[in-house]
Symmetry: C2
Subunit: 245 residues, 2 copies
DNA sequence: TGCTGTCGGTACGAATTCGTACCATGGTCA
DNA sequence: TGACCATGGTACGAATTCGTACCGACAGCA
C-alpha cells in the first residue's frame, strides 16, 4: 500500500490547501479534517492502487499528477483519467466502496494528503461541504472520461499527444515534462514508435523540444492550436469546478 | 423536454420496481418516493436530454434502454454508456447539477419512471437508501465508461459490434433487436459500411440473422464467444450492482 | 575509460478503418 | 400500380496505425 516514500529531490511539502478540493472546502469542514490528513510523497512510477485491489485511503493530490490506467487481459493499456491537484484518487470509496479495475499510478513525483476510508466516509455522510465538492469532482471526472472515449475513437495520435502534453503541463510547475515516450505510449494506448513519429513532427515545427525523457514546451499556444477540442473541453470542465461556489 | 409520448404499441406500463435501482430500495425509502414517480413512455429516437442542456427530472428506466451519446464539434459521434433497467438517466442531478455535454437518446421504445430534480435531490440529501444505490450505480457507470475507453482504442469493429448487441439484448425481452446499421454505426462511432461488413461476417457464420432494421440472435453463446472481454466486464459490474445488499 | 542498458529514430509490410460512392432491394405511400 | 426512400451490399484508393525489428546515441556505472 501507499506508504510515505520521499522523493529524491526533497521538495518542500505543499499545504493541503494546494489541493483544489480542500481549498474549496468551507473552513468549518476543512478544520474538522485537517488533523486527520496525512502527507504522502510518491516517486514517479509508484502505484497508489493496484487493479481490482481495495483502497485504504483517499488521496487529495497536492502536486504532480496521477493516471488512472486500465490494462486489458491481453496487455493493452489506456489512460482513463489524469488527476492533479484539481482532484483526488479514490472516488470509489464513497461510490459504494467496491473494487475497481483501474490502477492509479503517479506519473511524476507526487505529493498528496490522504484521508482514511473511515474518515472520508464519515465526513461524506454528513452531507456537507466535502460531499458537495467530491460529487462535483466526480462529475468532472466523468466528463473527462466521456471525452476520452470519443478522443480515442476519432482523433489521430498526433492530436492526442498534444492534448496529453497540455493536460499534464497544466498540472505541473513550469513548461517541462519528465516522461519517456514509452510511458506516454502506454497512456495513450499506442505504440512507442507512434509517439516518436508524432513527437518528431512537433519537434520539427518547433512546438516542443525534447531529449531522453524531458519534454519542453517553449510555445504553449502553438501546442494548443494543434490539440484536438478534447483538451479545451476537459480544461473548461475543471476550471468550472474550481470556480464553483 | 421529455413529455409523455405513448408508443404505438400501447405496451402495458411496467411497475416502477421493474427498475433495478427502485427494486433495490428498502421499502420505507421506496414508499416515500412512490407517489412522486411519474410514468414516461418514449418512442425510439426520442431524446431525454440535449447536449449541454439542463435536465429537469431523473429517469429510472423500466424497459428498453437509453444511450448517452457524445457528438464532437466536427460531427463525430460515440456512445459513452448504455442504460437499461439496471439504472437511470441523470446522475448529473446529484453530482452538482451542472450541465453535461452528453445527449441521452431512447434507442428503442422506453418506459421509465421519472422523479423531479427537487425530490431527487431532497431524497439524496437524506443520505439513506436512494443515495446509497445511486452512488453505487454511478460507480458501475464509470466502470462502463472506462471499459469503453480501452475498447475504442484496442478492439476491432467486429468485436465491438458483438459487445454492443449483447449489451443491448441484455436490456430487452427476447432475442430480437430493432435497430438499423446506420444507428449502430453512430453509437460505435464508425462508418455504416463498417457495421455492414462486420454484420455480414456474423450472418455468414450463422451467429446473427437480420434484415432491414431487425437483428435476431439465434445463438447467444456464439455471439458471446466472438465479443471482446469488455462485454463480460460490464455485465459483471451490473450483476454485482443488482446483487448488492 | 569502457560496458551496458535506456531511449529515441527509422523502416517495412500487414491490417484496419476511413471517406465516399454507387447500386439493389424491400417497404411505404400516393 | 408506380414512385420514392430507407436500408444494406459492395467496392475503391487513401490514410492511419499496427507489430516488429534494428540501429545509434546518450547516461550511468564499474
Amino acid at each position: 500500500m501507499a506508504t510515505s516514500i520521499p522523493t529524491g529531490s526533497a521538495a518542500p511539502l505543499p499545504s493541503p490547501r494546494e489541493n483544489r478540493l480542500l481549498a474549496a472546502l468551507p473552513d468549518p469542514d476543512y478544520q474538522r479534517l485537517e488533523a486527520d490528513l496525512e502527507p504522502v510523497q510518491l516517486d514517479a512510477g509508484h502505484g497508489l492502487r493496484h487493479p481490482h485491489g481495495a483502497l485504504d485511503r483517499f488521496y487529495f493530490v497536492a502536486s504532480g499528477f496521477v493516471s488512472q490506467m486500465y490494462t486489458t487481459f491481453d496487455g493493452h493499456t489506456g489512460e482513463i483519467s489524469l488527476i492533479g491537484r484539481e482532484g483526488g484518487v479514490g472516488v470509489t470509496l464513497f461510490l459504494g466502496d467496491t473494487p475497481s479495475p483501474l490502477e492509479a499510478i503517479a506519473q511524476v513525483p507526487v505529493a498528496a494528503w490522504s484521508l482514511s476510508r473511515e474518515r472520508l466516509r464519515e465526513e461524506f455522510a454528513r452531507g456537507e461541504g466535502l460531499q458537495d465538492i467530491l460529487l462535483r469532482f466526480t462529475q468532472a471526472l466523468m466528463t473527462q472520461m466521456a471525452q476520452t472515449v470519443v478522443c480515442n475513437r476519432h482523433h489521430t495520435v498526433a492530436l492526442q499527444l498534444c492534448r496529453w502534453i497540455l493536460l499534464s503541463l497544466d498540472r505541473l510547475e513550469g513548461s517541462e515534462l519528465r516522461m519517456t515516450q514509452e510511458t506516454i505510449a502506454r497512456m495513450l494506448g499506442v505504440r512507442r514508435a507512434g509517439v516518436t513519429e508524432a513527437a518528431r513532427a512537433l519537434q520539427r515545427e518547433g512546438v516542443i523540444e525534447y531529449q531522453r525523457g524531458v519534454i519542453r514546451v517553449p510555445d504553449r499556444s502553438a501546442l494548443e492550436e494543434r490539440a484536438c477540442e478534447c483538451y479545451g473541453v476537459i480544461r473548461a470542465e475543471y476550471d468550472r469546478l474550481a470556480e464553483s461556489p
